[in-house]
């Protein structure tokens, strides 16, 4: 596995996204939006009703995150903003990718076959950000540009638009050519589990 470190300015195009590979480490500058389960659903439902979205998700990275944010005057200050467990979004992430085409997904824990297919179809990557590193992430967020559906979805569930500088390190763990760090690990773990089973049987 190669480890290329790339500093990207958003938005990026399909060709640029398709050139990213499992093992690449990314630092992003530009805009990212947060969306957990409910924001995914809210955005998909708005699209189905033919309503325009209040922001352009295709030009930003999608961040699976429910941040801690504090109101300061008319604006907002991000206190902590690490990734949430991505696999909850597996049930609609392929549809989300095909509808809105964000080129970079940021989360933790990896995703499944549906998302992998969506990444391949659309030309996008899934990246892993260290789980729980909420204070570190907040340091790389320059400002909150906007927030949508705050009343409906609450602080963790709302879609927050962050302007970020050198946001990372993000490890590409699923790419658009079918590469998956999680799948690559499976044979190693399966082999290790044979040794585990032998140890247990002998105990």
């Amino acid at each position: 596995m190669s480890h290329q470190t790339k500093h990207l300015t958003l938005p990026i195009g399909e060709a640029e996204a398709r050139a990213l590979r499992v093992g690449d480490i990314l630092y992003l500058t530009g805009r990212i939006f947060t969306a957990r389960d409910e924001a995914h659903l809210t955005m998909l439902e708005a699209h189905e009703r033919g309503e325009p979205l209040p922001f352009a998700p295709g030009e930003m990275a999608l961040f699976h995150c429910g941040p801690v944010v504090r109101q300061v005057g008319d604006g907002w200050e991000v206190i902590a903003a690490g990734p949430t467990t991505s696999v909850r979004m597996e049930i609609f992430e392929d549809r989300f990718l095909e509808t809105f085409a964000p080129r970079i997904v940021i989360g933790k824990g990896g995703m499944g076959a549906r998302t992998q297919a969506g990444l391949e179809k659309v030309g996008a990557v899934y990246t892993h950000y260290t789980g729980g590193a909420g204070a570190l992430a907040a340091k790389r967020i320059e400002r909150v540009e906007d927030v949508h559906w705050l009343d409906k979805l609450g602080m963790p569930g709302a879609a927050w638009i962050f302007a970020v500088r050198e946001f990372g390190p993000l490890l590409v763990t699923m790419d658009s050519s079918g590469g998956s760090l999680y799948r690559d690990l499976e044979p190693t773990i399966a082999e290790n589990m044979k040794a585990v089973a032998a140890r247990i049987d002998a105990s």
């Binding site: 902590a80 340091k139 963790p156 773990i189």
Partner: protein, 288 residues
């Protein structure tokens, strides 16, 4: 009068738990960093350790999931404050949510409504133990949702024995992969009943990291399970590596002849906790 002293002490305990990772956990993470040979596994632990430093120095929550606030109350039966402690804890949670701040994490299961202050039906949850004496010892455990989602109970057939327990725990940790934010602390509760096994597992994660159960058989199981889990190669954040868990703690109760309940409680690397000791004169000491 005591409210004025004890509520702020409880708020301070919540602040310490949310912003300062206990030194035993930091030390275990540093050791794990030293034991990793993979570049991407080391990068995960480096990010965690840098994050822990930023949180401590800036007095900000180390993780955006500040958890649901669970309190373990060891209540001395002769304490004069048994009637008040529940209200004080609830008041402290409301104050701490605004002051630290904590993410509002209590959601009505039917309406989805979030009161915004981390209170709600049965929340904050208090786990009571009546003990001898006149002091109250409160332990706060802000536990995140990602790792709690990986906690489970299995009702094993007793015939599988302790070997069956080992197999079930390791298989569950492998199936959980990166989702509970490893390296984790695993609490294993054995026996009692379904609810009791889970409760014992949760109490197990409150122990100082790597402390051994005083019963030799349970202590041996702790050591074996830690070795077995770290043989799997799941690694920090599930990206592959040598340290999947920092510690395994076992607690047990006698079981029904027909049952072998196994509670598996998974705690993320952010093994946050703090204690408050309330004495009968109304003073409260915060112990991190």
């Amino acid at each position: 009068m005591s409210t004025e002293r004890i509520v702020p002490a409880l708020v301070e305990a919540l602040r310490i738990a949310s912003t300062i990772l206990p030194e035993d956990v930091v030390e275990a993470l540093r050791r794990a960093r030293g034991g990793e040979t993979s570049e991407i596994a080391r990068a995960q632990l480096d990010a965690i350790l840098e994050n822990v430093g930023i949180a401590r120095d800036g007095s900000i929550p180390m993780c955006q999931d500040t958890g649901t606030q669970t309190f373990f109350v060891e209540a001395g039966v002769r304490s004069p404050f048994l009637g008040e402690i529940r209200d004080w804890i609830a008041a402290a949670v409301v104050d701490a949510t605004a002051a630290i701040p904590l993410r509002p994490n209590t959601v009505d299961p039917f309406t989805g409504a979030n009161p915004g202050d981390n209170t709600g039906r049965f929340m904050p949850f208090l786990d009571w133990d009546l003990v001898d004496g006149d002091e109250i010892r409160v332990t706060v455990l802000p536990k995140g949702g990602g790792s709690e989602n990986m906690s489970t109970v299995k009702m094993l057939p007793p015939g599988v024995g302790i070997k069956g327990i080992k197999k079930a725990v390791v298989e569950h940790i492998v199936a959980s992969g990166g989702k509970p934010c490893p390296p984790t602390v695993v609490g294993v509760g054995i026996g009692g009943g379904a609810d009791i096994a889970l409760k014992l597992g949760k109490k197990a994660i409150l122990r100082p990291l790597g402390s051994a159960n005083p019963e030799p058989a349970a202590a041996r199981l702790e050591r074996e399970l830690l070795e077995l889990i770290n043989m799997t190669g799941v690694g920090p954040m599930g990206v592959g590596g040598a340290t999947t868990s920092l510690a395994v703690h076992v607690e047990y109760a006698h079981r029904h002849p027909a049952s072998l309940p196994l509670g598996i409680l998974v705690q993320c690397w952010a093994d946050r906790r703090a204690h408050v000791l309330i004495t009968p004169d109304g003073t409260a000491e915060v112990i991190s």
